[in-house]
Assembly symmetry: C2
Homo-oligomer: 348 residues x 2
């Protein structure tokens, strides 16, 4: 076995502490990645604190992983030692179901092996995430990362990037379209950069007037403070597409009413209670409300390649792992611009 070290929580109330554990020996199609950076996703916090009631402890969170290949299995063809590589939200899936075959491994009908708080497909071996110094993963579930981009800024693409890229692509966002991005956090700021790069006219909806300057720096054309309902009303029926990145409970009908004929709104956040949706909000203008969950391996690679070509990365605050507790507190308060990323050199 390969000795790894990281930071783990032992229970929902625990603080993070150094944690030593084992990664499996490299199989023929496995690669060993020396982790350089790992992003801090809000879902790390939900799971570390058992807020989704499905937590397995000890837990080493982290699914926005970027590093360098330090060893390759006998049959690995996609990577060689020294390559930049990434790992996202899952590390394996059944590979045989309809969804896996259609490149939607994230919706594997037998349940994909999540990068942490999960097990390998053997349903026995626990998985541990990226708040650690190295990870073993099948090459088919590792991503190629551009060596030209700063790895700290690339790490959040593995979750925040694909989560926003996938619905923008699926709904054909492009030139001449009016696109709304609801919420300017880790997901929202990626949504703005990506939608702008695709040629859309982008409006940010936020409860924080203080974020207007940032929104415009990120490329947004318009900024609407949503606490003032008179700002919203004149926009009824104006938008082709709205990406709602807010994970706190909020009114969806207000945004649905901004959609024009056949317009669509996609939610990617998971509030802790259901949304109330009025039938007329959907029936008027034949509107669509959809959900979107990360992306499959092929689409994640497409997104990474797209971001490399278009010079897009995440805005990050790099922290040593010893500051993870403070980073969680600040993330919960929305006080981060726009993603904490852990520098794994701090583990040494």
């Amino acid at each position: 076995m390969i000795q790894a070290k990281g930071y783990a929580v032992q229970g929902p109330e625990s603080k993070f502490e150094p944690f030593s554990f084992e990664r499996r020996e490299l199989g023929a199609s496995d690669v060993l990645i020396e982790i350089q950076y790992c992003g801090v996703c809000h879902s790390d916090i939900h799971q570390a604190r058992n807020e989704w009631q499905n937590s397995i402890y000890p837990m080493v969170p982290g699914h926005e992983i970027v590093g360098r290949i330090s060893q390759v299995g006998a049959e690995v063809s996609k990577f060689k030692e020294g390559d930049a590589a990434g790992v996202g939200c899952f590390v394996d899936s059944c590979r045989t179901c309809e969804n896996c075959k259609d490149d939607f491994e994230q919706f594997c009908q037998k349940q994909a092996a999540q990068t942490y708080n999960s097990t390998e497909m053997d349903r026995i071996t626990p998985t541990f995430g990226g708040y650690s110094n190295q990870i073993v993963v099948d090459e088919n579930y590792a991503l190629k990362v551009s060596a030209d981009q700063n790895p700290a800024n690339v790490a959040p693409l593995l979750c925040a990037g694909i989560t926003t890229y996938s619905p923008l692509k699926r709904f054909g966002v492009g030139k001449g379209q009016k696109v709304g991005i609801v919420g300017l956090g880790g997901l929202g700021h990626m949504g703005v950069k990506l939608a702008v790069s695709m040629g859309a006219e982008v409006t940010v909806f936020s409860t924080s007037p203080s974020k207007e300057e940032d929104a415009r720096k990120l490329g947004a054309h318009n900024f609407v403070v949503t606490k003032e309902s008179e700002n919203i009303k004149p926009l009824a029926g104006k938008f082709d597409f709205i990406l709602d990145t807010v994970s706190a409970a909020h009114d969806l009908n207000m945004y649905l009413n901004l959609l024009k004929l056949n317009g669509a709104m996609v939610i990617v956040g998971v509030p802790n209670k259901p949304a109330e949706v009025h039938a007329f909000s959907l029936i008027g203008n034949n509107r669509t409300l959809a959900g979107s969950g990360i992306g499959g391996i092929a689409e994640t690679q497409e997104m990474l390649d797209y971001c490399a070509e278009n010079n897009i990365t995440s805005d990050v605050e790099v922290i040593p792992i010893q500051q993870i507790e403070q980073a969680y507190e600040r993330t919960v308060k929305g006080d981060v611009r726009y993603r904490f990323v852990i520098d794994m050199q701090s583990l040494a």
Copy 2:
């Protein structure tokens, strides 16, 4: 002016009574239709009783109108005297907005003139619907109806038909797809006939075990009683498309979970309270929840032509107008197979 007679309610608590009123003189592009049959839509009841808080009295409901052209204006080219014709949910729109130009007059940005409980585009002249002996309408807002089909059975196509046809077409329902129809009422029974005609494998979801025989006669391949949750669970992730025709409040998440990857559910009913939608119900499998509101003139004509070619009409119970109160009571109880249609000869 043209003298017309029909049945009207004078207020939310009133019973229907005979009512005499005037239709406008024929303009150059108007046709006069001698009404033969008018369907009884559940929305007639909502509006007659002011359940949507937007009722204008006196009200002559009815927007599933079929009859014969008895007179044509000087410039009418689409119809000649004696032609079978129909009128649906609206009788005019602005004709210049983006939605009108895109053949979605039902979503006219200046608000279409509804067939009743509305005004003409002058915003002054009240509109009166099809519970009457004749109607004057611009030829562009009248539909051609097959002379080969029974007009009583055709009438409900003007609302129930287009309401179900439009989403089935929009989401590409066809051969090899598994389609669910929720609710077997006026809309649901049309949804079954149409989806079956399009080649789908159709499952009816109903709370009434007694409707199974009917469902199968209508062409449904499967029937699921939704009160038993063990009937539902094995169907998770199996459906490409679900059309939800129920207008009473009910749980949407149960049905959303039946959708496979990228599957869509469309609601066409308007419950009197908002639905609670869990984010995970949409994010899992990248699911879509959409609304759909009737159809534009071009699509309504397409639907009528499709139904004529495919020998599809509504199952109806024909009543004299004097039985309208009893018909409302039975419709509210769901005790109609599957649409009441008023025979206007009874007005004489």
